[in-house]
Amino acid sequence: MTADPSRQGLSQWLLSEQPASRNQARLGQAWRIWLSFTSNRLGMVGLGIVLILVLVAIFADVIAPYNPLLGGDLRTERLLPPSMDHWMGTDDLARDIFSRVVHGARLTLMVVALVAIIATPIGLLVGTTSGYFGGWIDTVLMRITDIFLAFPRLILALAFVAALGPGIENAIIAIAITSWPPYARLARAETLSIRNAEHIDAIRLQGASSGRIIWGHVVPLCMSSVIIRVTLDMAGIILTAAGLGFLGLGAQPPQPEWGAMIAGGRRFLIDYWWVATMPGIAIFVVSLGFNLLGDGLRDVLDPKAQQQ
């Protein structure tokens, strides 16, 4: 295979030891991270699974051969075993399980994305504020964080959903409320090591306000470790959401949420094993993907943890 000269030029430009501009340096850094990530085979498998999840979620309407909510003929198409027509069989309402699993990818992706969007800023805000100011603010905020950490995650989410009422939106809120404390801890630890750095002193001497220092100079430096942590947590978020769905507290029927689908198939487990088994495989593969991706990212971005 002969290398494309223009491509080679690009690679050289990216890996240049003397970048001519800030953007070149940034792109070069990103390219180096990407190169070392691609050499991690399991990490690439994880990335592949997550990409497939995203694609399936986007093109669910095209991929799914049947309607996920409306079933076929209840007399002849109920609880059919997996076949060429129905790859994963049909459920008790004669709905095609494969189509439901495909549409379930949307719900799963939505849960993961929204929890990350809600919980990450809360964790960053609490952690950086706490670490930057120290003193009694730190004590109070960290005590509150400890209280949230004192509950097991699923139990606290259960209690919140019980209070807010079942439904996928409330499940997302409950999971987000229970997810932020570890991020706050992490952001605080990072902030403590940044707080007394000279560049922060320099900005302070220029008269920047505390808010500006935290938002503009501390948060960006904490970002990468928090993002790794969030990625590593995504499998846990999926499992918690599926657990809530399984208990009937997450997505409500007829929504094709994977955990709720397993609960629905429980009654037919012994005679019609595929109804409960197929959505479980989907949950397993997707969480495995996020776990592998998170491990890969950590190895690349956080070499300290790699030695373990």
């Binding site: 499998a235 657990g243 397993i262 479980g280």
Partner: protein, 335 residues
Amino acid sequence: MRALRLSATVAFTILGLLVVTFLIGRVVPVDPVLAVVGDRASQSTYDRAFVELGLDRPLYVQFGLYVEKAITGDFGESVLTKKPILDDLIYVFPATLELATVGIIIGTLFGIPVGVWAAVRQGKLVDQVVRILGLVGYSAPIFWLGLLGLLVFYAKWGLVAGPGRIDISYEYAFTRVTGLYLVDTAMQGQWGAFRNVVSHIALPGALLGYYSMAYIARMTRSFMLNELAQEYVVTARVKGVAEWRIIWVHALRNAAVPLVTVIALSYAGLLEGSVLTETVFAWPGLGQYLTNSLQNADMNAVLGGTLLIGIIFVGLNLLSDFLYTLLDPRVRRRS
């Protein structure tokens, strides 16, 4: 001084737990008055109950009353069972305790040797197998593995008993003393019932055991790698100490100190895992009590159970700290 600080922290955390459960209880859309008097009560009955429940007072006064009651163990009455929540919790807790204990014993007995083995043969086949077991444990939903287990081991092969704690025919073969059926049946010499209990607990216990094993093995491996790289290991080798002795006696003893924390934490984690496992296996413990109460909007029971689990969590954390200082002379001397 240290003890004082510690108890202040614990008291604060438990107070915080109370704040959280109190606030959750306040935002519930279920009207607490209607839960007591029913929806056919007259306006005057409603008003009286409203005042008796203290709902006309400011929020902080209500919270004070809540804490006062909680300290005396009064979490209200369950709408479902018509019994005080505390009695209910005391009744169901042994079932969860028994299951989690069987799980942690299985997890520790298998997790530590496997973790040590993986550390010794780092990068070899065993190490890869441990890694894969760990990944599966982190990725597979516990309720799904439980259902698959029931399908294969109970329905297809008939190796274990089905859902539930004990068959109805053995239910009255012994008297309930501790609530731990394995202990009760064994003490009373009811071996038939004992075997039945074992066959019921085998699958859920093994399932929880697998999850804790995955975690314990992974941590043991990393602690052991750390210890095996220390200089005292080299010294021992130079002295000609047998390799098995270096690994299982010298290194493992040092790795054991942080491992205690790991085991305590995963014991606490099993309480969480038990909520879903108990639902799958119809296990009449804390988890099933919580989910049943949830589905019937029995908020007193939900919050009481949540609080109990939170307190057990705090307690286990404390215990692991305490054991840490007990086992590690370096920490002991510093304090």
